[in-house]
């Protein structure tokens, strides 16, 4: 096993078990080893050291058919602590991985429904625990299915492996409300940025919740002052793959004026859509300091005396 010489955030440096996908489309991205194509995955299914994880919005979708050998990790019921609004701790995370045959050195490829929305969320939680080799299947479940590739309802029965109990790193890739408050002066001075990835109506404050998701509302509408508005799905192409590097740069760099050395905090409503943007900025565009604020609008929009901007201007 050789460690690849690539620039990755300090917390997730480590050996990669399987060689990276050398597809030319991926080569343009800052960290091409964070993506695999459907061709690569089809060719590598069953390889020792690889575990494929499906993570969906729909809790039953995996059970209707999945990539052969893939295991399921459900964000709502498995990665969330059942009582406190937080992620599971190191002990529980070690159990979740171990019982799915994921060891600390395993290459984990995530895929899912809805442009890999929940797959990137699961990957981000794995990154909080410093799991080194995490990758996304470009195009996710939709592309695999559209290409007529094999699906099965057969449940894999992986042998349980030992996964170490690792303390979650809540500093490097994660931001809390107080961190965001402390970040605001940097946003004003131009050294830092905030990216609001929700829909335009949520950003302006017309909607107190995401279209079609009234259950996750807030008592105040609007956005965190200074935040750029970039709805997360703009980073996805029609076929659910990520847009090319040039297209992504046109959105985040040229149009929004962000740069790769900015200190960036991304947020949405509960932190899932913004983990997609976190992935895009960190791994596809090579931003060095991006944190995901998982409290997001369901915390900020309900918090007392935090600043709020309304309307379509950053404020």
């Amino acid at each position: 096993m050789t460690a690849l010489r690539v620039s990755v955030p300090r917390t997730i440096v480590g050996a990669m078990a399987l060689p990276a996908d050398t597809d030319p489309k991926l080569a343009d991205y800052a960290h091409p080893e964070r993506l695999v194509t459907t061709e690569w995955l089809a060719a590598n299914l069953g390889t020792e050291g690889l575990v494929v994880v499906e993570s969906d919005e729909d809790v039953l979708l995996y059970d209707t058919g999945h990539i052969p050998g893939a295991v399921k990790v459900d964000w709502h019921t498995e990665l969330n602590d059942p009582v406190t609004r937080d992620y599971v701790d190191g002990t529980r995370f070690a159990e979740i991985c171990g019982e799915r045959g994921i060891g600390r050195d395993t290459t984990v490829v995530f895929y899912g429904d809805r442009n890999n929305w929940w797959a990137t969320y699961a990957l981000w939680v794995f990154a909080l625990f410093g799991h080194a080799d995490v990758r996304i299947l470009d195009g996710g479940r939709a592309k695999w299915v559209a290409e007529g590739r094999e699906m099965t309802t057969e449940q894999p029965t992986p042998a349980t492996v030992e996964y170490p109990v690792v303390e979650r790193d809540d500093v490097t890739l994660r931001a809390f409300k107080d961190d965001v408050l402390a970040h605001l002066p940097k946003v004003r001075s131009g050294d830092g940025a905030l990216v609001d990835v929700r829909s335009p109506g949520e950003y302006s404050g017309e909607l107190l919740h995401m279209p079609d998701y009234p259950q996750e509302g807030a008592v105040r509408g609007g956005h965190i002052p200074g935040a750029a508005s970039v709805p997360w799905a703009r980073a996805a192409a029609e076929d659910a793959t990520f847009r090319s590097r040039a297209e992504l740069e046109a959105i985040y760099l040229q149009e929004q004026g962000l740069s790769a050395d900015d200190d960036v905090v991304a947020y949405c409503r509960i932190g899932e859509r913004s983990s997609h943007t976190w992935f895009v900025l960190t791994h596809l565009l090579g931003f060095a300091h991006v944190r995901n604020y998982d409290g997001s609008w369901t915390e900020w929009g309900n918090a007392v005396r935090v600043p709020v901007a309304q309307g379509s201007e950053r404020g």
């Binding site: 919005e57 729909d58 809790v59 039953l60 979708l61 059970d63 209707t64 709502h76 019921t77």
Partner: protein
Amino acid sequence: MAELPEALAELVDDFSAVGPKDRLQLLLELSQELPGLPERYADAADSMEQVHECQSPLFLAVEVDDAERVHLFFSAPPEAPTTRGFASIMHTGLDGEPAADVLAVPDDFYIALGLGEAVSPLRLRGMAAMLSRIKKQVRAHTA
């Protein structure tokens, strides 16, 4: 809790008799049993009501016949098995029941299914919304 229509009460019993994993399996089976739309609705997704509270697109039509019995029609894509499962619970439990009995179903009956742990409370809200829209349409038809 007011008395549930017999078929719905049976479903509640089935769900509460098993553990969380099997409840999910039961929901999956129900999702596969959701009947397709009859001819008259086949191309009429526009004429059906969209339930926005569901995380995936679901269309719902409600009819009340001359005998004041309720008939339910749903359409949800195969990529949305959870939504299909919720719709199937409504169909299995309420289709063909008297309008008055449908209106008497407690709005929070779904809590008794015990799906919170297996599905997550956030996802369950879609089911509450489905019932309230069914009732609204039944009221409109019987007013």
